[in-house]
Amino acid sequence: MKTIAKKDVKALLSLWTKEYHVLAPCRTARGDFIFADFSEESFTLDYKKPPLPPKSVFLPHTEVIFTVENGQFKETVTAHNVVLFGIRSCDMMGILQCTSFMTRDRNDIYYSTKNAMARTVVMACPGPQNETCFCTTTFSGPVAHKGFDLLFYDMGESFIIQTGSKRGEDILMSGPLSDIDNAVARRKIEAFTKQAVENIPVVDEITEAMTRLESGNVDEKIWEHFGQKCIVCGGCAFVCPTCTCFNVYDHESSPGHGIRARAWDACLYGGFTREASGHNPRATQASRLQRRHEHKLLYYNDTDVQGGLCGCVGCGRCSDYCPVRIGTLEVAKALVSN
């Protein structure tokens, strides 16, 4: 296996930028941390849970899918050779689940073309990134078990690098790397993983809530309660690594000319299911919240789960960012509270 000194990671990423569009954790001038184009000045290894999952690399917030000239549609599939450096294991699972959904049955080429041209470098978590992490419950971390091209383990002054694919091996062909004896590396990885798993408590309420939903043993008033509180911002869906719903809209700049684009949508919005007739099968905010949480915990697709527990990857972002505290953790706890 290979190792790299922490101080040399910047040089490795610089090397990659010659061939790839490298997205890495960066510190903005205002001190925020985001995933952005790698630059030596802003790159940082001192980061916790990224505020946003990397799904926008494959499913951008807004994406032109056709340009239209004289009423003729011309498809616009854009993709780059991307390296996603330093994503978390839960987000790797998010990518796997999204990719399964977007490519099975009918392949969405806008998504899959971008996905096929991306390399993923996962940063294993030594422990919870904050108090809402529950990846050990959803089998999605703290260490990725599939999908990655490279997997970095933090050993203090250096990283041990596990390769997950031929593409991962290829980007390690050169750079400031050293070899480490495989047996030694495996022992260290094992110890790292054991400790990391111990550090992240399992949230029993999640699995219990799933069982309750499955058996129908749920107090329906819970949805009414959360429905009253929800401010319909849609933020939980937008920060969710596995939410992929989108809307399609046209922008006609002049008659017969313009674009057809798609943009993220959220099942929390009243218009999401409303039909042209005005009929709305999910007419209340309670029913819409119920839908979102049942999609994650009950109505997930077995193929798409990719070895995880369900349609939730345990990143905790919905709990981090919901202004009125209706995250998966809060909902699960409420579902099992009586």
């Binding site: 599939v77 009918r106 392949n107 080429i109 046209d250 299911t273």
Partner: protein
């Protein structure tokens, strides 16, 4: 499409051959493919739908009203109600627009063949059911008796009026029509909700399959009737309506539990959705 896989959102240009006004704000559009190929190549099945795509307005899911046994044209019966359908109504003969499809799971033709067919339609719900009705009439040898129950809110709102009238001369289809209200007293048939028609005929529940499509409120009451009459759940099919934006199971708008109406439906056997609360 060149060297990459085909695009599931790819559009096909069509043009309007004829517009046939039905009732107020309802029009039957007859379409042809602009690339010169016939509708045989489209491969549609009764009960499937297309996305009507009008640039600048958007896309709308519209059920196919004509059967694959009549491929000289593709017919869609449209209610003028939103941005896309308003734009469509403003078009005339010869106008072109785009479609995608055919999409979804249609009526289970093979399963229906051994049975008598009971079609229950409410309002515009007749539009998709008509594709099955005409298919069964065209392939009469494959099907047992056909019973059509059709309810509208008043005598002015009967879709496909002349086509339905022509069934009076046929002995291979039994028809029962209802209107909710008949303020002018001109209706010769049953006045009341469509479920009232069940009391006006004898059904043999063990060798009949029921297929329904109509406004959301209709399903619960028709289901009650059917179960009461001894229909087994396996013999009940329904075409559901949802906001099917993409038609290919990706955009998420038409989800019903773990199903997508656009891919797993719009036609569902009752047994598949009876336990999904939000389905009906």
């Amino acid at each position: 499409m060149g060297d990459h896989p085909s695009n599931i959102y790819e559009l096909r240009p069509v043009s309007i051959i004829r517009t046939l006004p039905q009732i107020k704000d309802h029009m039957l559009f007859q379409l042809k493919l602009e690339d010169g190929t016939t509708w045989d190549s489209f491969g549609h099945q009764p009960g499937q739908f297309i996305e009507v795509s009008i640039f600048g307005k958007g896309e709308a899911p519209i059920s196919i009203s004509s059967p694959p046994t009549r491929c000289d044209t593709l017919e869609i019966c449209v209610r003028r109600t939103g941005r896309v359908t308003n734009a469509l109504f403003d078009m005339g003969r010869g106008s072109t627009f785009h479609i995608r499809g055919p999409y979804g799971r249609g009526f289970p033709i093979e399963n229906l063949k051994r049975y008598k067919l009971l079609l229950i339609a409410g309002g515009l719900g007749l539009a998709p059911l008509r594709s099955l009705l005409l298919y069964a009439l065209d392939r009469k040898d494959d099907f047992e008796d056909i019973i059509l129950m059709y309810g509208t809110n008043n005598p002015d709102n009967v879709l496909f009026k002349y086509e339905l009238l022509s069934f009076f001369d046929r002995d291979d289809i039994k028809y029962l029509y209802s209107v909710d209200r008949d303020e002018e007293g001109i209706w010769k048939q049953y006045v009341g909700v469509v479920t009232g028609l069940f009391d006006r005929t004898t059904l043999s529940s063990d060798d009949t399959c029921a297929v329904m499509c109509g406004p959301p409120i209709m399903y619960r009451f028709v289901l009650q009737k059917l179960i009461h009459l001894g229909f087994s759940k396996e013999h009940i099919y329904m075409s559901l309506e949802r906001m099917m934006k993409c038609g290919v199971g990706k955009c998420g708008h038409c989800a019903i539990g773990d199903r997508y109406c656009c891919m797993d439906g719009p036609v569902f056997p009752y047994t598949e959705i009876e336990n999904i609360k939000e389905a009906i």
